[in-house]
């Protein structure tokens, strides 16, 4: 099935035509004996099939009467028909009895969540299941070509994300479907989120470059908290470092830094420095940082009052206020109903925010934001390195919020003009934020620009790629708007619930998700894949090489050299 639900011509397969690669390995597993669409199917394993060879997350094909179903093994259960066996099992030395009982009186049941069905009459159309296969339908392991047909289309529209467990095929995501909505990458710390993100970002850059239609191109804005994506990133493998986006695709990526000193020290090749002016900071930005800056609600109210009065110079004014009861600002304070104690609290907070932060200046040089905007609008992705300030959540949130708000404004303006027929649509922008729950938790999601972007979806061509380890702390409404969710191992129940919220077959996927390996395995579900799948992500180093080759391949057509 492709993105529009239309039938796709299946590519001609020479091997199949010649009768080679016949599916010898149509390994039977068992028969459907019960279950339901919502709770999943029960499949009794054939006596001769070894239960130990089963694995949750693996695909099965159910050959039913007139159609074929695809499902995923979500649980494996041992059962017995003879209750007495559970009380007096055969002894350790009674191998004969164990052999006899195994598979008959004591047998295994697979729990299979049906995901897709293909009509036997029309081989191409796969659609979500709306019913279950009939009783005793035969269940077998899905073959490589079946999985390939579902996930595999090799075309400019799809990019490889990894390989399924125990299979030698590629799982591909639908580029267009991926970029048109906000997406999430989740997983406990150390499970490979960064690795996956880098892979996804690179893929999108590569696919975007391959698009002929400018409306289909996409750029990234990455708020790179731990300096992982720009020039060079860490890698828990041989060598310890991998090339960042800029190093692989220098013509498509620009790196901006908040911390030139750190960037220089790390040998990162950055293009420019980012400076934020106090006059660019909004009262709402401060409200977002209320907790980390330890501000009272009164202080936040004061910010808003000050901004109303002094507009962009409000912060300057706030820092200049005197807390003296009968001081010169008495009248001003009274008119804004700011209590002297509030002034102290507010000033302490604001000073904490600006202290030792060379990238926050009183007035921003006009070119920082302009450069950022023009780079993005010209179709070049931007990675903003935070250097040492990445560990400082205040800075990260402030910068991300301030820049994103401005960018969003511009995008909205352009999009609205384009809708009115007065200009071109802005290129699709995907904003990557880490520790996303800080921006999107239920208390602040209503106030931050990120909450807004997540909710309004692709309306203004701006979407989010949220990276987080605590998805349960993200507002449920925002979670529900995420199109595609890529998730590595999660072991907190609430996090698992949050990621799977709204997915059909959730109970089964819960088990799959909790049993992912700690590294190098991810469950992908949602908009960009036809059905949930567990993959091993591509090996980054080989992938790196491949992308480099593709990006540097000489343009085949003149139009490639001179994109509109």
């Amino acid at each position: 099935m492709n993105g529009n639900g239309q039938h796709r011509e299946r590519p001609l397969d020479i091997d199949e035509l010649l009768g080679r690669r016949r599916e010898v390995d149509l390994r039977a597993l068992g028969s459907v004996v019960g279950g339901s669409l919502s709770a999943g199917l029960e499949v009794r394993l054939d006596a001769e099939v070894d239960v130990e060879a089963m694995a949750v997350g693996r695909y099965v094909t159910i050959d039913a009467h007139e159609q074929r179903f695809f499902g995923m093994i979500t649980d494996v259960e041992l059962r017995t028909t003879i209750d007495a066996l559970t009380e007096t099992p055969p002894g350790q030395d009674d191998e004969f009895l164990r052999d006899v009982y195994r598979g008959t009186a004591a047998f295994a049941v697979l729990h299979v969540t049906p995901m897709l069905r293909v009509s036997a009459l029309d081989n191409n159309a796969a659609e979500p299941v709306k019913t279950v296969p009939s009783h005793f339908s035969r269940v077998r392991e899905a073959t490589q070509s079946e999985v390939e047909r579902i996930f595999g289309a090799e075309d400019p529209q799809h990019f490889v994300i990894g390989t399924p467990l125990d299979m030698d095929v590629k799982v591909r995501l639908d580029y267009e479907r991926f970029v048109e909505r906000s997406n999430g990458i989740f997983g406990k710390s150390g499970t490979g989120k960064t690795f996956l993100t880098r892979l996804v970002l690179l893929n999108i850059i590569q696919k975007s470059n391959a698009q002929r239609d400018p409306q289909k191109k996409a750029v990234h804005l990455v708020f790179d908290m731990h300096n992982e994506y720009g020039w060079q990133g860490t890698y828990e493998g041989p060598g310890g470092t991998v090339k960042g986006l800029k190093a692989i695709a220098p013509s498509s990526v620009s790196v901006m830094t908040l911390d030139e000193e750190s960037s220089r020290r790390r040998g990162s090749k950055y293009d420019s420095a980012i400076v934020i002016g106090c006059d660019e900071v909004d009262a709402a930005d401060i409200a977002l940082l209320r907790e980390t800056l330890n501000l009272s609600q009164n202080s936040v109210d004061a910010c808003h009052a000050l901004q109303e009065r002094f507009h962009e110079r409000w912060m300057e004014q706030a820092l200049a206020l005197t807390a003296d009861e009968n001081g010169p600002d008495k009248e001003l304070r009274a008119s804004l109903s700011i209590h002297p104690a509030t002034v102290t609290n507010l000033q302490r907070g604001l000073r904490k925010l600006t202290r030792n932060k060379p990238f926050i200046k009183e007035r921003a040089p006009a070119d920082t934001l302009k450069l950022l905007l023009s780079t993005l609008l010209n179709g070049k992705s931007v990675v903003i390195e935070f250097g040492r300030y990445g560990n400082d959540l205040d800075s990260y949130m402030l910068v991300a919020n301030v820049l994103t708000r401005r960018i969003h404004e511009v995008w909205r303006e352009r999009k609205e003009l384009a809708t009115a027929g007065m200009g071109e649509e802005p290129v699709r922008l995907m904003i990557t934020i880490e520790e996303a729950h800080k921006f999107l938790d239920p208390h602040v999601a209503g106030q931050t620009i990120f909450g807004q972007i997540a909710r309004e979806m692709r309306k203004y061509n701006v979407t989010l790629l949220v990276i987080d380890q605590r998805p349960s702390m993200i507002e449920p409404e925002v979670m529900s708007q995420l199109g595609t969710r890529v998730t590595c191992l999660l072991d907190n129940e609430r996090d698992i619930d949050a990621v799977l919220a709204g997915t059909s077959g959730k109970s089964g996927l819960t088990d799959v998700l909790a049993r992912l390996e700690t590294k190098q395995q991810a469950l992908i579900l949602g908009h960009a894949v036809p059905m949930p799948i567990v993959v091993r992500p591509e090996d980054y180093t080989t992938y790196e090489r491949w992308v480099e080759d593709t990006l540097r391949r000489p343009a085949a057509r003149v139009s490639d050299l001179y994109p509109e």
Binding site: T81, I82, A84, F96, L97, Y101, A105
Partner: protein, 199 residues
């Protein structure tokens, strides 16, 4: 245990019912062992049965066989002193019918008619044993044969396993798997039978 290639004939049918027949052993021919798979020749179908009981008694039912010799005399001594004794004895065996061999294959249910009286009873060849035990529907018939059904069934499967040579154990496991649903309601009986099946 390899059987001789020649056909072993054990006796003739002297009493026949649809599910069970009795045959009298030929003189000077060995008695079939318990559980042996036997076939009735000379009928419209080759009826297949399992030896389920063996009886030796005096020829004349009105005369009891007397005990000879004293407490110290062993069997050869007694037979040497009374050589006529074997001649006064008669051995019969019963076969529980488990199916028949139709021209186009094995049937594991009762034949349309009992075997004819005087028909000859022979041992099944290894090949026939393997062919007949290719499926296990006959186990249910064997379980219905009376108080010693489990013994007979276990003996039959042990004997049949011999026809499989090295694959005998695998055969017994298959048989056990087929048996377990039949006796699922009586796990003690199942377990006891399974234990007896092991050669």
């Amino acid at each position: 245990m390899a059987r001789p290639p020649a056909i072993t004939r054990y006796g003739r049918v002297i009493e026949a019912a649809i599910a069970r027949f009795t045959a009298e052993c030929f003189k000077d021919v060995e008695t079939p062992p318990l559980g042996e798979l036997i076939a009735v020749e000379d009928g419209p179908e080759t009826i297949v049965a399992v030896v389920s009981s063996i009886v030796t008694q005096g020829i004349d039912p009105s005369r009891r066989v007397n005990a000879h010799g004293g407490p110290e005399d062993d069997l050869p001594t007694v037979l040497a002193a009374h050589p006529h004794v074997p001649a006064l004895l008669l051995t019969t065996f019963s076969g529980s019918v488990v199916g028949y061999l139709a021209p186009d294959g094995v049937r594991q249910y009762l034949p349309p008619a009992p075997p004819p009286i005087q028909a000859r009873v022979r041992a099944c060849s290894d090949e026939e044993v393997r062919e007949f035990t290719g499926s296990f529907d006959f186990l249910r018939l064997l379980l219905e044969t009376g108080p010693l059904a489990d013994e007979v069934l276990a003996a039959a499967l042990r004997r049949a396993a011999e026809a499989y040579g090295a694959a005998g154990r695998a055969f017994l496991v298959r048989a056990g798997k087929a048996l377990s649903p039949l006796l699922a309601r009586d796990p003690v009986r199942l377990q006891a039978t399974l234990r007896r099946m092991q050669a």
